[in-house]
Amino acid sequence: MSPRRNPTRRDFIATSGVALGVSVAGCATGDDAADETPSEAAPGGTESTPEGTEQGRGNELPTASAQERPLVHIPAHQDGMRMVGMEEVGPYMVAMSYTLLHDFWILTGKEKIYVQIEDGQGLHLMATVWDPEYNQRIPLGSPPVEVRAAESGDSVTKKSLWPMLSQQMGPHFGDNVAFPEEGEYTVQLSFDPVSARQLGEYRGRFTDAVDAEFDLLFRTDITNNIRERFVDEAGQAGALEPMETDMQPDGRLADAASLPGEHGGIVESGAAEFVVQVLRRAPAGIDSSGPYLAVSARTPYNQYPLPFMGLRATVANAGEEVREPLKAAVHPELGYHYGAPFPAIAMGDEVTLSVGAPPQVARHRGYQTAFLEFDDTTLTLGDGT
């Protein structure tokens, strides 16, 4: 071996990374799909940043138009998706689907990172999980996924899917996965026990780890046919409608009027809506027989749950103040919500909600600037709204 160090593959990539990293702005890329996709798709040129460079990579560079846009807004295009399969495993129904490679933002605390589309061919894999009895989507954290080539069994990727929120898919688990070539693959998903409190009929229901497996055919002629529509209302306040399918619930939470308990009101902060309910008796699974304060934090328009958030309530009555963190929970009628028992809570009390960590879900376009900064909000239970 020569005493002079020969360049390794690593050196090659380090020096050529800038040139290789150029990608298409917008949601669609991939070898063939890119040809049919205008490369400047985003409204007002947002995200047409030097994303392919080391500087641009991993940073969302805000533009003037991004700051003027409503926090929740209609994205530039609407994509179709393909269903891979549906499977009942344990207490869950799991649907596996995919769409074109997407960009998105991941969140740790308030640190938000733009994840661009990598060069190459691949899919944005999505899993949605719900309870088939009450049709509630179930939050499962970050389920591990492994994709293998069907014939050889070779692993293509192994990672944990991010909990994500998109306007069309609602709450789901997803990430982009590069596929080395066309062919048949198997996708194995693992679900850890649900960490949110399981209440009422859900008590003890989601406590086992379960696996689901799907066969996936990756062919560019199929992905090229995933329909995309450019949306005229891009950048305006609003949200794309939830994807309609006959097979799975669309992820919306029940209207305030349909929730159990007495309705305390609705407040808004950080573009999120907080529907406040008081149940006279805490549901099974809460160590109290007194009243229970439930707060359903949701997106505007589509009414999707906002999971993995630090939420606290201060309940005041005649100079007495009780301050408690609200724990995330799932319940057949309330769905995903935050709650805690407050033994003396009653209509007429003042409830102040304050947010610690913003909802730790990755965001697709249209949600990337929302649900990040919250002001404390106060309402009087039962007073109006």
């Binding site: 390794t8 605390g109 640190e111 990172i113 192994k158 990430d175 949110a196 993995f308 610690g356």
Partner: protein, 435 residues
């Protein structure tokens, strides 16, 4: 040595030779170690020190490695760079006979005479599993806390290692860990210049051989495997996740992990797990701030306490100094993330000291990145308590933290195997009786 159409660097070759093993690997190593090192290389030449002839120079504890290792500028012991783990079964059923016991002791003694007891020579331990002790009618002494391995989280499903014994070989020299294995199993006539006369061959059967490495530069050189993006690992990172570990203030001392009483006083327990790491998202999606928050704490990220791979931290990860250990639940609620080191800092003993002495190292066995997480502790319960702290169950539904998401590094690490062993004191390292 080549791999496909590219030429391997010196460090890559040494690591690859250890993974390959056998006479081919050893020949490649010795050949390379005989050549002048590249500038900045830390592998040594062939002037290997001679063995330790006098038993009086050897410590009574098998795990007494720190004072025989190099230390860095901050006083942290520097772990040996190359490691081999040999999992083996005793060939007989029932209690071990005295002839085999003597044969094994002679072989281990000869290893010490062949290589100097230091990280530049050879450090090794011999451990015994609960399965080994099952061969005796008598139970293992109650002074030893050595349960069968078990799954330690609701989200893990590991296989269990149940060989009778585990030999851990460690050296800064790739050739030494390779050669020592072959000497131990009677595959060589000479090792390090001396004749091989004693072997454990015939008393045990090798069931698995695992390899690994730790030290600045080694992971970056071996990123062409599954589980890590090429070119992502910092050049000077000692482990694949890109940060230093094993700070002196965050490690148990050899004294504190030593069993104090009973027939195995002077020994310790050893836990070995295989953790697979999946670092695509870690390096391609998470930002550096997010990585620091998940590895250390949100405070470490916000106050930029960690530079590069963390050499600037000196001899402490600063989890105690910053008080973040007491803010795990608050951080989960307010910051939405808790750090790995932050959670582990809660698993201190009554005196406020860490319970584990980590001697883990990175691996690319089977073409996948991972960690052979090897730790020493007085009893396995110390490991379980520490692992429970890492699991972060208590904050898995607090604020922005989930079972794995934003819960330290759990999202990136999967436990694949677990095994527990007793490291007897040196005087009882050869097929010990249970009491």
């Amino acid at each position: 040595m080549t791999d496909g159409d590219r030429t391997l660097t010196r460090r890559e070759t040494l690591r690859a030779a250890v993974a390959l093993g056998g006479s081919t690997g050893l020949a490649a190593c010795l050949d390379l170690e005989g050549q002048p090192t590249e500038a900045g290389g830390t592998d040594r030449g062939t002037d290997r020190p001679a063995g330790t002839e006098s038993e009086a120079e050897l410590p009574s504890r098998q795990h007494a490695w720190n004072e025989f290792s190099r230390t860095d500028e901050h006083g942290n012991p520097v772990p040996a760079r190359h490691h081999v783990l040999l999992l083996a079964d005793y060939v007989g059923d029932g209690p071990v006979d005295d002839g085999d016991r003597t044969q094994a002791e002679n072989a281990f003694r000869e290893l010490e005479e062949t290589y100097r007891w230091e990280s530049d020579g050879l450090l090794f331990t011999v451990g015994y599993s609960p399965a080994y002790f099952d061969r005796y009618d008598e139970p293992l002494s109650e002074s030893v806390d050595l349960p069968q391995p078990a799954a330690l989280a609701p989200f893990e499903d590991p296989s269990f290692d149940t060989p009778d014994l585990l030999v851990h070989l460690a050296s800064d020299r790739a050739s030494a860990v390779l050669e020592a294995k072959q000497a131990l199993f009677g595959e060589l006539e000479t090792a390090n210049g001396s004749e091989v006369t004693e072997t454990i061959d015939g008393t045990v059967e090798l069931v698995d051989r695992r390899t690994g490495f730790i030290g600045a530069g080694l992971p970056a050189e071996h990123d062409d495997v599954d589980g890590v993006p090429d070119g992502a690992v910092p050049e000077d990172a000692p482990l694949f996740m890109g940060f230093k570990s094993g700070f002196r203030q965050n490690q148990a001392t050899e004294d504190s992990v030593t069993i104090a009483e009973g027939p195995f006083a002077g020994g310790t327990t050893q836990h070995l797990s295989l953790l697979r790491t999946e670092l695509d998202q870690w390096y391609n999606q998470d930002s550096r701030e997010q990585r620091v928050a998940k590895m250390f704490s949100a405070t470490h990220a916000a106050e930029t306490l960690v530079e590069g791979v963390g050499d600037n931290l000196g001899d402490s990860s600063l989890v105690a100094e910053t008080g973040v250990a007491d803010r795990v639940e608050d951080d989960a609620f307010e910051k939405g993330v808790v750090g790995h080191a932050q959670k582990l800092a809660r698993a201190r003993d009554e005196g406020g000291d860490p319970r584990l002495l980590r001697r883990d190292f990175a691996t690319v066995d089977d073409g996948q990145t991972g960690v052979h997480f090897l730790s020493l502790q007085e009893g396995i319960m110390d490991f379980i308590r520490t692992r429970n702290a890492m699991n972060g169950d208590d904050v898995a539904n607090v604020g922005g933290v989930g079972t794995k998401n934003n819960n330290g590094i759990l999202q990136y690490v999967t436990t694949v195997r677990r095994g527990n062993y007793l490291l007897p004191p040196r005087s009882k390292r050869s097929f010990p009786r249970p009491s």
